[in-house]
Symmetry: C2
Subunit: 329 residues, 2 copies
């Protein structure tokens, strides 16, 4: 049973009071340089490190940030998580990972995290209700949304410009003379799905067109193969399929290949996000670049800002997107 070395042990060994030890580890505290150095040396020798749990009890900050993401095995989520985790640790925060499963309740997950006195939460999965936002506010833990915004912007959020992204894609397809375009959406009730779909419809309308067909997958490659196949088999003479994300687009490419349908000659296929991997494979994807790094950094900035100034007005940052033209369209 290894006994932990506490500030008291260090104090005794260094011949000072425990308060001195605490101060030695608190930047900017009132300690003489010599004594601090001495205490730090003794602490080092004893292998002492302040107990951050205990510190979190008194101070208002634990340094813990709840990070809610969806299925990490999906490329976009993994990519985002990587940048988030990196940005957080770089700023001295510690990410508490809350993986969201299919039927999990965001509220319950956050409740649990709040019990750990997280300083804030970054949510990039699930549908965020006002109740959830209120709960966080009531606990004094700022909430930052990624890839979803609350109506009346009741929470800070950063989200890419879905509408513009889809417009870029549609414009390109129409410019190529394509007219019979189908939509392959993602999971229902998803903010991204809704915004992206709306973007496609508006852009098409602008050209005097409408969707020829539509189906719905679950953002996974597998569902892209399935539902993409259905679209292709329906005998609709499609010349373009716009997918809600890259993974499904890759699936549709696969489905087309299985049927000997030429991409992009017969049918164009587009994705969204530009995940690493979209550029490789059977057919490099024409897609929209979703700036993940920028998104993660913006989210952290928002969080920091609110931690600093709890009363500031909520802010929704729309990060820009760009068209990435590759072989699939």
């Amino acid at each position: 049973m290894p006994m932990r070395v506490t500030a008291d042990d260090v104090a005794r060994a260094a011949g000072v009071s425990r308060a001195m030890v605490s101060r030695a580890f608190t930047p900017g505290a009132s300690v003489s340089a010599k004594k601090r150095e001495h205490v730090l040396a003794v602490a080092q020798a004893l292998g002492y490190r302040p107990n951050l749990i205990a510190r979190g009890l008194t101070g208002q900050r634990t340094g813990l940030i709840a990070v809610v993401v969806g299925e990490i095995s999906r490329p976009y989520e993994a990519w985002l998580l990587e940048h988030l985790a990196q940005a957080l640790s770089a700023h001295g925060y510690q990410p508490l990972l809350l993986p969201m499963f299919k039927d999990a309740s965001l509220m319950e997950m956050l409740d649990h995290a709040l019990a750990y006195q997280v300083d804030g939460a970054i949510v990039a999965a699930g549908s965020v209700s006002r109740e959830v936002a209120d709960r966080c506010r009531a606990s004094g833990a700022p909430l930052v949304l990624i890839g979803r915004v609350l109506e009346k912007s009741e929470a800070d959020a950063v989200c890419c410009d879905n509408s513009k992204g889809m417009r870029l894609l549609v414009d390109r397809l129409v410019q190529q003379g394509r007219q019979r375009i189908a939509w392959l959406g993602g999971t229902l009730d998803t903010f991204s799905d809704q915004e992206r779909r709306l973007g496609v419809e508006q852009a098409l309308t602008h050209h005097g067109l409408a969707l020829t067909a539509q189906r719905r997958g679950d953002f996974s490659l597998h569902s892209g193969v399935e539902e993409g196949g259905r679209l292709l088999d329906a005998g609709l003479m499609l010349d373009g399929i716009i997918c809600a994300n890259d993974a499904m687009a890759l699936g549709v490419v696969e489905a087309a290949a299985q049927r000997g349908i030429k991409v992009p000659d017969e049918v164009a296929i587009t994705g969204f996000d530009d995940v690493p991997g979209a550029a490789w494979g059977r057919c490099p994807l024409t897609t929209v670049r979703n700036p993940v790094r920028e998104t993660a950094l913006a989210a952290l900035r928002l969080l920091d800002a609110r931690l600093q100034t709890p009363a500031r007005a909520t802010q929704v940052i729309r990060v820009g997107v760009t068209l990435v033209e590759r072989a699939s369209a």
Copy 2:
């Protein structure tokens, strides 16, 4: 400034002592059923939840588990992390995510995590020295390794049977009459790389063969394209390339396609891990299935067991692998 509701508030509102509130929330504590119900109801009404940070201060357990993984954007890591996170939360633990960057020091990362009084650590990245293991032991936080084992098995670990996996692959290639086989390794100093490479060499030796060539990537798809291209361009008449993981194998497939080299007719390409995505794309990969779910569960079992019985003998679990034959070989 939202004031948190504490056990004292509940106690006052329920007309009992704070100790009662604590007991009401402690399963198996000595409280009359009626009183517990009452306290719980009052707590519910006030929106009280025990402060797990404070609880962690007294009790020996915080419920926090440090999880060290490499670059999450890589399919295998993401896949593993997903299963780990799922398994941990299912068992009531809270994963504290520690992303390992290129030149980060495992020791420093764990030190930081230990300051948070984690109950244990699962490490699936970086090279684990004995010092690291000792540090964890000294802090009373069990260490469980994934995909790497310490000499003299000084820490619990779970790792797939790299050697057998490579043997299966080599046997298959040789059985197809292939003789000029190259090795595309991963990052140097990586346990997986070492074991897998050794496995290949031993299996080849067993057939009276040796490696025709070898290069080294960094486990990324991109490096597979690069280094795979170099191998293919070297004019070595290779008829097989064995890669240290799937991502690089997919890269090599890509490189072959760029050069109009037929896979598997001219050259066979094999991966390792069988990540989701290995089955799709330009050329479904012949690979070895690395049972991630089983690995994650085994790691958790090991952790639980040691938390239960700190003194038990360290245990190294080798999870089995199976050959997955697809188009690339």
